[in-house]
């Protein structure tokens, strides 16, 4: 197969597109990691939760709200909804085996998917995003305003979360509850609520990812399913229990896949997803802890 001539401008554009994709993967991967750290389970409903909240945004906008007016409302709904899901659906199986939790999240994904079809109907529809798609010149490289906007929004959110986890008492308690449940209870942390809070944060991350990609992908109940697979790959690549890993993994995967799709002739657009799955496989075989996964340091 013939590959078009290489130019640095186009290469830079591809990188930018990759970073934009990666930012979305990173957000969703981070959501997976937050839940994985506290429950040791992968939340297969993460994609559907994100799409559901994106639909809420769509409804709000249809009722006359601007995107940026709807945005905080959707985040609040996502946060409360995430907490409610943990308290009602996950809590009864919280102390059960991991596989039980995983299957419950699969069921939740199906449930949400069905609900979306019932409420909003199937089929995809355009979603008017907050950013213009016109390109601007960044150091000689044309990049769309939308791409820049998505990256900025995603990283502001990740940075805020990082500051929250690192510097607040509540953030510390959340980390502690994920690391050692019993010790956290002994210092007075309400661990159950911390897990719920983690679900709330994950839902917010998902909502932002959903609202960012909807203008590109068109909105339908299955919108986030493929993105979720990429997010799995990103999370595994970074090390499932490392938040930094999720972000770095997301970016590497986004850029990597875009470049491979563009410059490796036979991959093109169709084989990008298998490449991501290959990444999961390779990481699990070669370096199961991922790039940043925890290697326990312990001396007794």
């Amino acid at each position: 197969m013939l590959v078009a001539a290489f130019t640095w401008t186009e290469f830079a554009q591809q990188i930018a597109a990759g970073v934009r994709q990666g930012a979305v993967f990173a957000g969703l991967a981070l959501a997976l990691v937050i839940i994985y750290r506290s429950t040791r389970a992968i939340n297969f409903a993460q994609g559907e939760m994100a799409t559901f909240t994106t639909f809420i945004c769509w409804s709000l906008m249809n009722n006359g709200l601007s995107f940026w007016a709807a945005f905080p409302i959707v985040l609040a709904i996502a946060f409360v909804g995430g907490i409610a899901i943990e308290r009602t659906i996950i809590r009864p199986v919280e102390n059960g085996p991991v596989i039980t939790i995983v299957i419950v999240t699969l069921g939740l994904a199906l449930l949400l998917n069905g609900l979306m079809s019932v409420i909003w109907g199937g089929g995809n529809r355009p979603f008017r995003g907050p950013f213009s798609t016109r390109t601007i010149d960044v150091g000689g490289v044309p990049i769309s305003v939308q791409d820049i906007g998505i990256v900025v929004v995603s990283f502001v959110l990740v940075a805020l979360l990082a500051l929250f986890f690192r510097f607040t008492k509540l953030g510390l308690a959340l980390r502690a509850a994920a690391l050692n449940r019993e010790s956290s209870e002994l210092v007075g942390v309400r661990v159950g609520w911390m897990l719920a809070f983690g679900w709330g944060l994950a839902a917010v991350l998902g909502a932002v990812a959903g609202m960012m990609v909807a203008p590109i992908l068109f909105l339908d109940p299955n919108m986030m399913q493929v993105i979720l697979l990429y997010a799995f790959a990103a999370a595994v690549l970074g090390g499932l229990d490392s938040p930094i890993g999720a972000v770095v993994g997301g970016l590497l995967l986004g850029v990597g896949i875009t470049l491979v799709g563009r410059y490796v002739g036979f991959v093109g657009d169709v084989l990008k997803l298998p490449v991501a799955l290959l990444v999961i496989l390779l990481v699990l075989v070669v370096k199961p802890n991922g790039l940043f996964g925890r290697v326990a340091v312990r001396r007794v």
Binding site: K169, L172, A173, R175, A176, L179, N180, E182, S183, S184, E185, L186, V187, G188, V189, R190, V191, R294, A296, V297, R298, R299, V300
Partner: protein, 234 residues
């Protein structure tokens, strides 16, 4: 004055197995009380019953009111439990561990941390180190320091001497006595090393298969024929 902690007919079980039978004991304000006994006698479970980390029945009154059976509630009431294995967060830094100790309190923690560092200067040197990289003795210091951060009325201490060199054990118990004298904290300590415990505690309870079999002031227990033979070995 009534006791700070009073257990009355407390029972506890792990699944179908009952491990505590009708335990009654009390700890006064600023008192160091030891719980002695062989492996499996229910010493650790006694502490767990107080902090609510095991299913229990019976009455526990703490500081004048009934103690709810939830570990976070016990912590809020002023009970700091240093469990078996010390319960430090090995992935978090020394400072973060101390910060978590004060989780139930509002306001600044700097002063309290300074207070802990006076007791255990080693912790200040290792403030930013991951707790998991500390030596066993330092981890025990961190566990105690973290308990102190809560300004507790009562510290529950499980086997503080376990796996530590005699020098370190002496240091830990010296600090405990200082904590009791300076801060008025009460301590309920579980110890395998009966001689050590009786040397420091005002009173002690001896458990056998989940029952209190002997109790009294430490001097008396040291003279007690059966205690001497079973636990002190002379």
């Amino acid at each position: 004055m009534s006791a700070l902690l009073q257990l009355d007919g407390v029972e506890a079980r792990y699944g179908p197995v009952k491990v505590l039978h009708e335990i009654s004991l009390e700890v006064g304000r600023g008192e160091l009380v030891a719980v002695l006994g062989a492996n499996g006698a229910g010493k650790t479970t006694t502490l767990r019953a107080v902090s609510g980390t095991v299913r229990r029945t019976g009455d526990i009154v703490f500081d004048g009111s009934k103690l709810p059976r939830r570990p976070d509630a016990a912590a809020r009431a002023g009970i700091a439990h240093v469990p078996e294995g010390r319960g430090t967060f090995s992935e978090l830094s020394v400072w973060e561990n101390l910060r978590l100790g004060a989780y139930t309190r509002r306001g600044s923690v700097k002063e309290d941390a300074q207070h802990v560092f006076e007791y255990f200067p080693r912790l200040e040197e290792r403030k930013n180190q991951q707790a998991g990289t500390l030596s066993g003795g330092e981890q025990q210091m961190l566990a105690l320091g973290r308990a102190m951060m809560a300004r507790p009325k009562l510290v529950l201490l499980d086997e503080p001497s376990l796996g530590l060199a005699p020098m370190l054990v002496k240091e830990i118990f010296d600090r405990l006595e200082r904590m009791i004298a300076q801060d008025g904290t009460a301590v309920l300590v579980v110890e395998q090393n009966a001689a050590l415990a009786l040397a420091h505690a005002a009173r002690a309870y001896v458990l056998e298969v989940g029952h209190v079999v002997v109790s009294g002031p430490s001097e008396e227990l040291r003279e007690n024929e059966s205690v001497r033979r079973s636990y002190l070995g002379y």
